[in-house]
Amino acid sequence: MSSKPSTLFDKVWDAHVVRDIQDGPDVFLIDRHFIHEVTSPVAFLGLKNRNVGVMFPERTFATADHNTPTINQHLPVADPLSANQLKALEENTQKHGISHWGLGNPKNGIVHVVGPENGITLPGMTIVCGDSHTSTHGAFGCIAFGIGTSEVEMVLASQCIMQPKPKKMRINVNGEMHKGVTAKDVVLFIISKLTAAGATGYFVEYAGSVFESMSMEGRMTVCNMSIEMGARGGMIAPDETTFNYIKGREKAPTGQAWDDALAYWKTLKTDEGATFDIEYNFDGAEIEPMITYGTNPGMGMGITELIPSAEDIDAGKASFAKSLQYMGFHEKEPMLGKQIDYVFIGSCTNGRIEDFRAFASIVKGRKKAENVTAWVVPGSHVVEAQIREEGIYDILIEAGFELRQPGCSACLAMNDDKIPAGKYAVSTSNRNFEGRQGPGARTLLASPLVAAAAAVTGKVTDPRTLIA
């Protein structure tokens, strides 16, 4: 190997290039492939039409999550179209010998929650899934990104996809973060600075003390939303926090294999002197709890700030006005105090145990506001079990909340968990696009702490005022 300083991204990327096509993309080997019921059926249909099999079925893992109901999962799925997709996933995986954690399986849950939870996601891997939030797995030092269905078919057929190598960006956040500021606020802050298209064409490495001191759950939240600024993905160098998280998980290496893996994982960091195409620096102390006011994740602000005016924004004026009109908001008004109707905590962004601990820390000893409908949706059955074991369930019930069953739920509203038209939802998910949470729904993206504060007060509230 060359001794030239190289980045974490280069190390992982270069180890996976099967062939470098001149004036074209790289033929790029995929280590782990996740599939779900919505973006895989047409890929399997393509294989059938070509009369091609799955090259390495043991490298693909299936779970059902996007369209699954979050209540009464023991009953047949009522929506015939959803049921049909779930059946197709079951049949396709069975036919090709692919592991499948379907509805009712104790390992079932959101794909980007169950992958890491079971030790499938390991440092230095390349990981893809027909879902843009595959970037989540970058938290482990993986190159992980979302793909389309044609590419799902490619990976099934050949364990490879065609990818031009993206440019490299590093985002450094150092400094002491204030109380009440979470990983979600850090990433919403970054996106608000870079805009929803600011990292398009780049692969991001997150570096600095703020990420080093984050839990794996927090790092997953950050990497998850890389796509919301257009990045191909985002990654964080693995360290002791990573290794401790992985150790002992079902599919993690053991014994000698663990020692060998660990020795390799410790090499997965950006060398001193390695260069990036672009680099940004932010101060962690400048970040406050964040909330979005518009219809893309770049339209975020500190919770105590005022909604900007079109003059302050480096974007199309007409699109900005259209966005505020959809939300029913005006320039220069505060978000604090706005009445809300729904709260959703869950999703691949904030559906892990740490998120429910944060939510419960504010809810404890308080009551859900009368005007709020709350959907509390764990990311997996494992998370659900933890919620019960740790007593979070009792806190939720005491405060007037209900716990639903795992799935993507109101993040994209493919099942029945839809926010009604015109209603405001404070949501811990990842997208506030028009209609994302149901036709006409108005989404305010925020952290689990901000969601909890809204749930108990019925309005947009600074969680720091409720933290002892």
Partner: protein, 198 residues
């Protein structure tokens, strides 16, 4: 699945001068429940195109009969958000073969080329000229020439060149897809994969 060959497309265009058109607008999630690729064009831009009672919204461009053609022209950062290829399928199924914008989201761009839609990225200034030309004459024709990598507003003769890598261009011009290529190098991939760490 091989697709139609793309060489030179001359057509009028449909203007959508909105920035950050995300794939949830192109095809909302509730319409992703099919297990085949047919019929997505009916729900293209569903919630911008129809009211809650399924009646058409008169002010949306797809409901305005003066605009038609095989080219869709969108504002900056077209196709952001979800990786759903259904967005590209919906655009294709509706009848578009080319999308013009000053900036595309990565995954949408890949998905489009994988099914035979050509994404043409132009400068902000040229995009503005295209919108102006369509505003002046809804039938204004654009010529998209893939072999030459140029886009021309025929009425004014204004033209700009666009980038595309040689491999993808070759595929689109000939109607080949990536799986054809990958199948042809199967042994090389298997050998590489078997000695890889994971």
């Amino acid at each position: 699945m091989a697709y139609d060959k793309f060489t030179v497309l001359t057509s009028s265009a449909v203007p959508l001068p909105i920035e950050n058109v995300d794939t949830d607008q192109i095809i909302p999630a509730r319409f992703l429940k099919a297990t085949t690729r047919e019929g997505f064009g009916d729900n293209l831009f569903r919630d911008w195109r129809y009211n809650g009672d399924d009646s058409p919204k008169a002010d949306f461009v797809l409901n305005n009969p003066i605009y038609s053609g095989k080219i869709l022209v969108g504002g900056k950062n077209f196709g952001s958000g979800s990786s759903r290829e259904h967005a590209a399928w919906a655009i294709y199924d509706y009848g578009f073969r080319c999308v013009v914008s000053s900036f595309f989201a990565d995954i949408f761009k890949n998905n489009s080329m994988n099914i035979g839609i050509l994404p043409v990225q132009v400068s902000d200034a040229f995009l503005h000229k295209v919108f102006s030309a369509i505003e002046a004459d809804p039938n204004a024709a654009l010529e998209v020439n893939l072999p030459e990598q140029t886009i021309t507003i025929l009425a004014t003769g204004e033209s700009e060149s666009f980038d595309i890598n040689g491999y993808k261009k070759h595929n689109l011009v000939n109607g080949f897809d990536d799986i054809d290529y990958l199948q042809a190098m199967k042994e090389e991939i298997v050998a590489f994969a078997q000695k890889s760490r994971y």
